[in-house]
Amino acid sequence: MSSVTMPESRPDRGAAAAAEPIARPKVPWWLVGLAFGTLVSGQVVGFLTSEPDRDMGHLQKIMYVHVPAAWASFIAFFIVFWASVTVLWKRNERADLLNAAAAEAGAVLTGLTLVLGSIWGRPTWGVWWTWDARLTSTAVLFLVFVGFLALRALTDDPERRARWSAAVGILGALNVPIVYMSVKWWRTLHQLQSSPSTVDADYVLGLRWNAFAFAFALAAFVTIRYRTALFALAADRRAEARALAGGSTDAR
């Protein structure tokens, strides 16, 4: 990848880069605060406004964490798709770091979706798990992105790592519409997508509030993970420059 500038490709900057201090990136504390605030308030509002559902009683409240977790993971994988295409098309190194940050957050949220769905399924459906198309395709989505992260840990060459990640990222992201449409395309135990016409107004308020809260949390995590990766990369570059400049063993 042409944009991966190894120190040796810029001998003129070697000594200067070795001495350069690394600017500390900003933590978006306002975003962290917004995510935390909306999460807490969303759950309070969800609990206060939701009467027990006529079929599942208080179990309906699990909707406010299960559904937002799933939606937020979809947003994360949309970022993965965009970043992956950018990596392959523009050979952009920063897009690879964004790709990794979004894929990691998406994997965490998909795992959370599966666990919460299982906790919801046991008392309502009567089973923790069943191999219907929605659950199976979500499990596949989760495994693809666990594989994505394992692949990154396994590959040391940044150029190959970026390309393979992008390939897996695109494949994984293409699974998202399958997961979303699975309840329409195939018969499942999982119900169809809900819409404001099938969900009482009180529940819609809590669901929307929590969906925004999860989206803010996703944005905070992805931003910080991405900036951390940039930060770590700059430190690595400097260590390499130092090693080249001074022949030091501190080349980590």
């Binding site: 299960h66 666990v115 919801w120 008392p123 995590f221 951390t228 430190a235 400097r238 260590a239 501190d250």
Partner: protein
């Protein structure tokens, strides 16, 4: 036990789902903080 569709004993499941959510967020936040401080450590390492 009657078979009438009436659901009881929901709270353990509801509480478990919220606890799991917060535990996952907290664990991920910890992971994020650790990666950050590791990057900061290597950025602050003085020139040998």
């Amino acid at each position: 036990m009657p078979v009438d569709g009436r659901v009881t004993g929901e709270w353990p499941y509801v509480i478990a789902s919220y606890v799991v959510t917060w535990v996952v967020f907290a664990a991920y936040a910890f992971h994020t903080w650790r990666a950050w401080s590791e990057a900061a450590r290597s950025a602050d390492r003085p020139e040998p």
